[in-house]
């Protein structure tokens, strides 16, 4: 009795804390917006209040949805996401201002509203994350279709700057691979939970590694080949890297076999080697990464990377201040290189703060994965958290020249509707799993005859079954045979 009620009181909702943090996040975004406006025009403007107001409304809508549908969820996830989205809005608006005549900030706000809607729908429709496990193969199909759709469309509907990852129609551009990524992670989670016992079987030892059976390599190889196919048909280096990385991570978590990690790394290395030699644009990316400052590259191939680095250098420790730098010099500053704009105007301090925000989101996701009791929830949350972490690593690493540059978006910061919507869906799913993890176990009814009686295992000699009986009440209760 005491344990049940004790655990019920420990599992508080923490929604009050979430609301307070949300308000702080919106205030921070508004302050950033104010900095930009003051720096550019030396006066305040009503636009600051209007933008902050819209952001506040969306945040409150999401907060109410969480209160209603996932009252025990982690209180940190939503405020962090809202703050990053607000910061992204500020930066996009600031770049708009320098480029005179573009108004992507308003579009981003529209997508933010759509993202809020998707968030509420996902949170409301998926009341128990375990139901998603039943739709594993459907998700896989949907994911693959979305992934390959741009490849089969003619180039004028699907190609932007050499990467065929878009669907464009009547002024809108969608990146279906972002949504495909979420569906495929759902599929991976469902598949791996179902097959994990099978994939944990080992046949032989090799160099100290326990190798799995050859036939179990099949799905992994399929995934590997699919990634390469996506890469070759669509020139999307980043997405294929991400999908493969997430799959290998989830495989490791499901089977606990280090050998899968090694196999994954070997396949990755082999794939990279093959890609380097087969695809010119991969070679080019590597070349630019290694020789960014070569005089003949600086104004040509590596211009974007170099200007981004100059932006970071110009920001230094404290940054130039919002509105006082020149982020618009960098090509694609509002999408791929939004982080360079952040680095220039908010400096190393801002960069570290935002990276820590991302790290906290990932950590909360993994916390939910560890805390939830069912395997599918662990796989799902773990996979989603890993995909966020890997995405941030790949794009920020590329922008800051740690690794070669790829065309991934920076979650919540960069301009892009599909990316924003998909990431909000991810957060909704993480909140769903987190709610399940932190929800107190169902309390045992006070009038139950069993109450808190200790239990023991009884093996029946005849049947090959195991019977659990309640020891204390056994002699008195006629329902329990001895």
């Amino acid at each position: 009795m005491t344990t049940a009620s004790a655990s019920a009181s420990l599992a508080r909702g923490r929604r009050g804390a979430e609301l307070a943090l949300l308000l702080f996040g919106v205030a921070l975004a508004a302050a950033g917006q104010a900095c930009v406006v003051i720096a550019r025009t030396n006066a305040l403007s009503g636009r600051i209040a209007a933008d902050a107001g819209v952001l506040l409304v969306l945040a409150v809508v999401m907060h109410v949805a969480v209160r209603r549908f996932a009252p025990y969820a982690d209180p940190l996830l939503l405020p962090l996401v809202v703050m990053l989205s607000g910061l992204g809005l500020t930066l996009i608006g600031r770049i708009d201002d320098s480029l005179r005549g573009t108004n992507y900030a308003s579009l981003q706000l529209v997508w933010l509203a759509i993202g809020t809607g998707v968030f509420v729908i996902v949170l409301g429709a998926v009341r128990d994350h375990r139901t998603l496990a039943r739709f594993g193969y459907t998700a896989a199909l949907g994911g693959l279709v979305l992934l390959l759709l741009p490849a089969v469309l003619p180039a004028r509907f699907s190609e932007v700057n050499g990467a065929r990852v878009w669907i464009r129609f009547s002024g809108f551009s969608l990146q279906p691979s972002e949504i495909a990524k979420v569906l495929l992670i759902v599929f991976f989670a469902a598949y791996l939970v179902a097959k994990r016992d099978v994939m944990s079987v080992v046949t032989r030892s090799f160099l100290g590694l326990q190798l799995p059976r050859a036939r179990d390599l099949g799905p992994v190889l399929v995934a590997w080949i699919a990634s390469l196919a996506v890469l070759s048909r669509e020139n999307d280096l980043g997405q294929s890297l991400l999908l493969f990385g997430v799959f290998v991570a989830m495989l490791y978590v499901a089977t606990q076999r280090g050998s899968w990690l090694v196999i994954g790394l070997v396949l990755f290395a082999g794939g990279a080697y093959f890609a380097y030699h087969a695809f010119a644009h991969v070679r080019e990316r590597f070349d630019i990464w290694l020789h960014a400052f070569k005089p003949s590259y600086v104004h040509d191939q590596s211009y974007q990377l170099v200007q981004g680095l100059y932006g970071f250098g110009g920001g230094g420790l404290l940054g130039t201040g919002l509105g006082r730098g020149h982020p618009q010099i960098v090509p694609y500053a509002r999408t791929d290189f939004i982080f360079a704009a952040l680095g220039e105007e908010l400096g190393l301090v801002g960069v570290i703060a935002v990276l820590v925000c991302y790290a906290i989101i990932v950590q909360r996701g993994l916390r939910a994965a560890i805390g939830v009791r069912d395997s599918f929830g662990k796989m799902l949350a773990g996979g989603l958290a890993a995909s966020l972490a890997l995405q941030v690593f790949v794009i920020v690493g590329g922008v800051m020249r740690l690794i070669p540059l790829t065309g991934l978006t920076t979650p919540f910061l960069s301009y892009g509707g599909s990316s924003l919507v998909a990431n909000f869906a991810i957060i909704a799913l993480l909140l769903r799993v987190s709610d399940a993890a932190r929800r107190p176990p169902p309390a045992i009814r006070a009038d139950s005859p069993y109450g808190d009686a200790p239990t023991s295992v009884v093996r029946s000699a005849e049947a090959q079954t195991v019977v659990v009986s309640r020891v204390g009440a056994a002699t008195e209760d006629p329902e329990n045979g001895a």
């Binding site: 978590v253 600086v298 680095l309 932006g311 970071f312 250098g313 010099i329 773990g382 972490a389």
Partner: protein
């Protein structure tokens, strides 16, 4: 599955750690290099929105200032603004262009470049000020630079130089130093240019203005005073005399050989005197008279007698052949000799020909040392560095260049140089007798045309006054004799320029 999840968390954490470390490296470790790379447009763009500090003179003359433009956010750089307006005085701007340089969207040069950190407000000494200004919401301001130049002297130098050059298309330079402190009072190079078009915010227009100047005849962008290296000719006899006087064997009244022509050992080519004149009587004269009449044969023979080692050491003590001291403008090294000299080469080097090449600024250092009792002070151009609120951040001063010659030798040299002006080659130049000027003329051959005709000589005059409100050392250099062609001499072309500059800089005693 919790164990692998935990390990996955650690791995992802390491990835983030890698990102943070890399970010720190890029934004702190590499920041300085990235910001100073030539193809980085950000510092140049930032210059447009900075209230850059002023470059000014002690008497309040403003040489460069930032003017807020019509859009209220960006600044234009104006050189020599007419007081009270935002228009530029192109003539005055041209007078100081070699010193101020320019700061525009395409590049920087001169003082604008060497003092860029202070002028742009990025100097470390302004850091705290900048921080409190940011908190108070004030615009970032650059510090100001006050130069040592004297407006009256600079103007006199320019007017005089331009008169001497006329429309000949030749070039010239003037340098004046304060003898006791090493302050650079005049630094002029003609032909010059107006830096305002190069500092235009329109990058294309600025580049075009720069390219036009690069190709212009007479090379106006070249600072002859600090970068030009020319044979000093007879002016170098000051160094030869100093070498001789520093040994125990010579004094101004020592009688030395002064033949009609002198043929050094190991050669049959004779060194003549100027226009074949005879020096002294009977092939002999005193050292003082030899300098006063600028006798080539006497000094050539003297040089051979002294030997390369002593001459070279004395030249190096003056700074010739050594690396140039720290100076805010690029300054070329002067040369005495390249390698071992055989007697004919030594004879010619002793009279400032052969491989001897001096910058006008280096020549000024020679007379500054002599005028300062033999104590050399390296020249300095920046008098004061000021913070935006006009408080002083630092004052400039010349560095100790060492005792080049003893005070006794310096006094003897002064006596000899006064003779040059009173009764020697510079007697007709019109120096104010009240200033008691001591100097030396120089008329240097510097080659022939393709047809073998002798080029008009380079002309020099270097001197300092020994009476008056202050002591200044002035050097004037005029290439190819200015307008006087083959008949040009240091006394007729360069000396009048030094006279005019001295009159502008020094008040005679009793006035």
């Amino acid at each position: 599955m919790n164990a692998p999840l935990r390990r996955l968390a650690i791995a992802l954490g390491l990835l983030f750690l890698a990102l943070l470390t890399n970010a720190t490296w890029v934004q702190v470790g590499q920041a300085h290099d990235l910001n100073h790379r030539a193809d980085n447009p950000r510092p140049l763009l930032t210059r447009l929105t900075t209230d850059r500090g002023q470059i000014q003179l002690a008497d309040g003359t403003v040489l460069a200032t930032s003017v807020l433009s019509k859009d209220g956010r960006t600044y234009d750089r104006v050189y020599s603004p007419v007081p009270g307006t935002h228009q530029e005085n192109a003539q005055q701007a041209a007078m100081y262009a070699d010193v101020t340089g320019w700061a525009g969207v395409i590049s920087t040069s001169g003082i604008e470049q060497s003092e860029d950190d202070l002028l742009a407000g990025n100097d470390d000494r302004l850091a705290i000020r900048n921080f409190t200004d940011t908190l108070a919401g004030k615009q970032k301001q650059g510090g100001s630079v006050q130069l040592t130049l004297d407006n009256a002297g600079q103007q006199a130098a320019y007017t005089s130089l331009q008169r001497a050059l006329g429309s000949s298309g030749n070039a010239g330079a003037v340098v004046a130093l304060d003898v006791q402190t090493g302050k650079v009072l005049v630094l002029a190079s003609v032909p010059s240019f107006d830096p305002n078009p190069i500092a235009s915010r329109d990058g294309a227009a600025a580049q075009q203005a720069y390219n036009t100047l690069l190709k212009q005849q007479g090379n106006p962008l070249f600072n002859r005073a600090t970068q030009g290296r020319y044979p000093p000719g007879s002016m170098f006899k000051l160094v030869t005399s100093a070498t001789a006087l520093s040994t125990d064997k010579y004094s101004p009244s020592t009688v030395i050989d002064a033949p009609a022509t002198y043929t050094p050992p190991l050669t049959r080519v004779a060194i003549p005197n100027f226009a074949g004149e005879l020096c002294g009587r009977g092939g002999k004269e005193t050292l003082l008279d030899a300098l006063a009449t600028s006798c080539n044969t006497a000094f050539a023979k003297l040089g051979v007698a002294l030997g390369q080692s002593k001459l070279q050491k004395q030249a190096e003590a003056f700074g010739i052949g050594e690396a140039t001291p720290s100076f805010p403008l690029p300054w070329a090294r002067s040369t005495f000799a390249s390698g071992q000299l055989d007697p004919p080469a030594l004879a010619q080097s002793a009279i400032g020909q052969r491989d001897v090449a001096l910058t006008p600024l280096q020549a000024a250092m020679i007379v500054q040392a002599i005028g300062n009792d033999g104590h050399l002070i390296t020249p300095y151009l920046v008098d004061k560095e000021l913070a935006p609120d006009k408080s002083q951040l630092s004052t400039g001063h010349g560095a100790d260049g060492g005792q080049v010659v003893t005070p006794q030798v310096a006094a003897e040299l002064t006596q000899m140089m006064q003779a040059v002006v009173q009764k020697g080659t510079a007697a007709g130049a019109g120096f104010n007798p009240a200033l008691k000027v001591a100097g030396k003329t120089g008329t240097a051959q510097h080659g022939t045309t393709q047809q073998g005709v002798l080029l008009p000589p380079d002309t020099w005059f270097a001197g300092f006054n020994t009476a008056g409100s202050r002591t200044v050392a002035v050097v004037a250099f005029v290439e190819n004799g200015g307008t006087q062609g083959a008949a040009a001499q240091g006394a007729t072309v360069a000396a009048p320029i030094v006279r005019d500059v001295m009159n502008a800089l020094v008040t005679p005693p009793g006035q």
